[in-house]
Subunit: 205 residues, 2 copies
């Protein structure tokens, strides 16, 4: 029984083909995420004293935290997801994403390690994120992305079905976890520096 | 031509046996490190206003920064170090360390990735370390250790010649980069929290 992934010589005994279409997988994920963000945006609007940036950050931290725990957690704790006769939504989602990076179905250890750290540590920490924790989680996300991209490069850089999946999944989907944490880490850095300057100014008075 | 590493089936064509003894490798590294720490300790003692903790931290950041750049850098940028007919000190050091973790001679991609990030990013950042950079580098070191230990576990946990090398090199040597960054990160966290509280107190006055 063949599989759609690259490289073609990858062995996946017992692979059960995808039953859901790309739309049936992406629409619920993106729809649920959008709904979550909308609810947090509207509810946080009722709280006085929160700036628009604060509210946007709350939306991001809830979204990324739940993605880490639910989406990445279901990959980490489902070793045989591609062999399941009655796959659930998340099993199907990871079979679809593997078109952009077959190291997921192949259960590459570096990829699994980064996902495990992300699901177990970064996920819960995202939901709690305040000043210092924000910069800590952002740096963790950036370190994880570095390991993810560098190991892919060193291991041959041939894990995608076609350029579409390379750009849409491997580069496109992951890029959000590069530029958003970069922006938030820079903002946190400035806030922490300002706090130190304020403390310093107080001492020298 | 055989090699001394585990697992025995590991293929290392062109392996050149170790010419230096364990003592000839460890003594220069530990001696040079001790000398460096001693010099920084004595010189920093001449600066007024530095607490003993500040001076200890300076010693640590210089030591860990130079270790990252020089020791780990020579591994990252010497792909064929175990095949060199006239190996330099660092080639020999990595052949010795590989007795505790053969993923170094095997050039495992996850290990190489963590070492590359450590040598190129964490090393220079260690030398510059001030408040926020300290917590950033510590978190990076801890993330790197997590990836290092978890990938070893997932990949079979059989990369050492004997229990001695497991405990002395794999666990012992690396443990310094677990407990010292943990202590420094906790200290930085408290300092940052204190700075935020001071800033807050100033605002509400």
């Amino acid at each position: 029984m063949g599989h759609p992934y690259a490289p073609a010589e990858l062995q996946l005994p017992g692979y059960v083909p995808l039953q859901l279409s790309q739309g049936q997988i992406l629409a619920p994920y993106l729809g649920a995420s959008l709904l979550l963000v909308l609810v947090i945006w509207l509810v946080s609007g009722k709280c006085r004293g929160l700036s628009k940036t604060d509210r946007l950050l709350m939306c991001w931290w809830e979204f990324t935290g739940l993605t880490h725990i639910i989406i990445e957690g279901t990959f980490v704790f489902a070793p045989g997801f591609f062999r399941k006769e009655n796959p659930n939504f998340f099993n199907e989602l990871w079979k679809e994403y593997s078109k952009g990076d077959s190291r997921y179905v192949a259960r590459d250890t570096a990829t699994l390690t980064v996902e495990a750290i992300t699901a177990v540590l970064e996920g819960p920490a995202s939901l709690l994120a305040v000043h210092i924790l924000q910069i800590a989680v952002c740096l963790g996300q950036l370190y994880g992305c570095l390991v993810y991209f560098i190991t892919a490069y060193l291991d041959g850089f041939n894990f995608w079905v076609s350029p579409f999946y390379f750009w849409a999944y491997f580069i496109g989907a992951n890029s959000f976890w590069v530029w958003i944490p970069t922006l938030i880490a820079m903002r946190s850095w400035k806030k922490i520096c300002a706090a130190f300057r304020a403390e310093e100014a107080k001492k020298t008075k």
